[in-house]
Structure formats: C-alpha cells, structure tokens
Amino acid sequence: MPGRISRRRIAEYVATELIEAKTSQAKVLQQLAAFLVDTRRTTELTLIVRDIEFQLSQKGYTNATVTSAFDLTAATQKAIEAFVKDKTKAAHISLTTHVDPSVIGGVKVSLPGYEINQTIAHQLTALKTRFKKA
C-alpha cells in the first residue's frame, strides 16, 4: 500500500499540471477531487487549494481574490492587477472577484500569504477594537 502523499506534493503536482497545461484544467481538478474522495481527505480541500495557490505564486502565477461591495470597473481591476504585480513580482496575475455588500465599501485583496483589507467594514471594526476601552 503506498504511503500517504503530503499536501505539498499534491499541490506541487497540481500547480505544475495547471501551468504546463499538459492536461486540461478541468481534468486536473477532476483528478484532484477523485483522489481526495478516494483517500478520504476531502476535509483538507481548503488547505490543498491554498497550497496550490502558494505553489502557483512561487512559479510566477498569482491568483488574487478581490472582495468589494460593488462590481469593479475595468480601470479599478487594472489598478488592482498593477498593485498585485508590483507586490508579488509575479509574471501572471489573475483576479477572482467577489461582491459582498457587507464590506460596505473599499476593497479586500487576498494573495497567497498576504492580504490587504481596505474595506470600510474592516476599518470600522478596527476603529471599534482599537479605541475600545477594556
């Protein structure tokens, strides 16, 4: 019986497959899902996805998750891409956008190992927690 494969190795494999595009993206993800179901490791999915993102960023492919209260305009998206590129020095940048009205305004950019939260909701929370007296 083969030994347990570490999350890092799985992430490396998936990242390599996605970058080299030997197999289609959907096929790679199907393989990953099948593997996790087969080895009963579906609970590790979130961690593995995070590891894959990290491996991709190490190889110059950075995916940034952007959360805002409204749809982002093209100019805003470009500005964010430029910011992320400057920050990570990655060759390839992809943005995943989420609209979440609870952030009120501003933007939250999540990168592998880094996050910038400039939302109004976050600033209000910071205001409350920073100035609150115990």
């Binding site: 500005a79 964010i80 009120i104 501003g106 933007v107 109004i120 209000l124 115990a134």
Partner: protein, 185 residues
C-alpha cells in the same frame, strides 16, 4: 406606901416565877429544842453547808469565768470591730480603686471603640469613594464604548446609504494607491 411596895414586891416575884408559864414556855421543852437546834446546826455545818458552799463557790467561779469570757468576748468584739472597721476601710479603698480603674478602663475602652468606629467609618467612606470612582470610571468606559459603537454604526449606515459605485471606485483607487506608497516605503 409600904403596903404598896410590899404588894409590888410580891407581885414581882409571882410574876418572875410564873413568867415562862405566863408566856406559855416550857423550859424543859426549850432546852430540848435548843439541843435539837444545836444538833441541826452541827449536822448542817457538817454535811450541808460545805456542799452548799462548794456549789456556791463553783457557781461563783462559773459566773466569774463567764464574766471573764464575756469581757474577753467584749474585748474580742472590740478588736474585731476595729478589724472589721479596718477591713471595711480597706474594702472601701479597694472598691474605690476598682471603681476608678473600671472607670478609667471603660473610658479607655470607650475611647478605643470610638477611635475604631471612626477608623472603620473612614475606611468605609474611603472604600465607598474608591468604589464610586471605579463605578464612575466603568460608567465612563461603558459610555465611551457605547458611543464608539454608535459612531461606528452611524458611520456604517451613512456610508452604506451615501456610497455609490463611482465613489467606491475612487475609494478603491485611493486605497490601492495608498497601499502602493506604503509598500514602496
């Protein structure tokens, strides 16, 4: 006159001869009675008087002893009276001393208890002041935090109502610019 003298002389002789008879005394009985009296005196002197005298002497001795004892008792009573008086004086002095000491002690105790009560009252007041200060401070904190929450909530409400897509884009642009500047530094 002679006749009369003679008559008187005869009459006297008759009187003398019959005096005992006239008086109803029998001289022989008298003698016997005298003898009997003497015998009685002798018997009494021999047997009764010594015993009687002895009893009297004993009684006298008893009475004298009683008198002496009474005198002694009187002396003892006098002495005891003096002792009792002395003891009473001593007792009065001691009682006065005890009373004085008790008054002093009670005064000291009263003073001490007053002092203690005053200290306790001062401590209670100080504690109350401290507690009041803490309560006020806590109330201020609660008020401050509530105000902060209220300000945050009001800001959230106002911003949610006033912020549109355009303003949000400007906000995001500023935020990205600010972050880039910070990163460059």
């Amino acid at each position: 006159m002679t006749f009369l003298n003679q008559f008187a002389h005869e009459a006297t002789e008759e009187v003398q001869a019959d005096l005992f008879t006239a008086l109803g005394i029998d001289w022989r009985l008298l003698i016997l009675q005298i003898i009997a009296f003497l015998i009685l005196v002798y018997v009494l002197g021999r047997f009764v008087y010594p015993w009687l005298m002895k009893s009297v002497d004993e009684r006298q001795a008893n009475i004298e002893a009683g008198a002496k004892a009474a005198a002694k008792a009187q002396e003892a009573a006098e002495e005891n009276k003096e002792q009792v008086a002395a003891l009473l004086d001593e007792a009065r002095k001691q009682a006065a001393e005890i009373l004085g000491t008790a008054k002093l002690e009670s005064s000291e105790m009263l003073s001490a208890s007053e002092k203690k009560a005053q200290t306790t009252a001062e401590r209670i007041v100080a504690n109350a002041h401290d507690q009041l200060g803490k309560d006020v401070e806590n109330a201020r904190k609660v008020l401050y935090n509530d105000t902060l929450e209220l300000v945050a909530l009001a800001t959230e409400k106002v911003v949610t109502k006033k912020l549109d897509k355009r303003a949000d884009s400007d906000l995001i642009a500023d935020a990205v610019k600010s972050s880039s500047t910070k990163a460059a530094k």
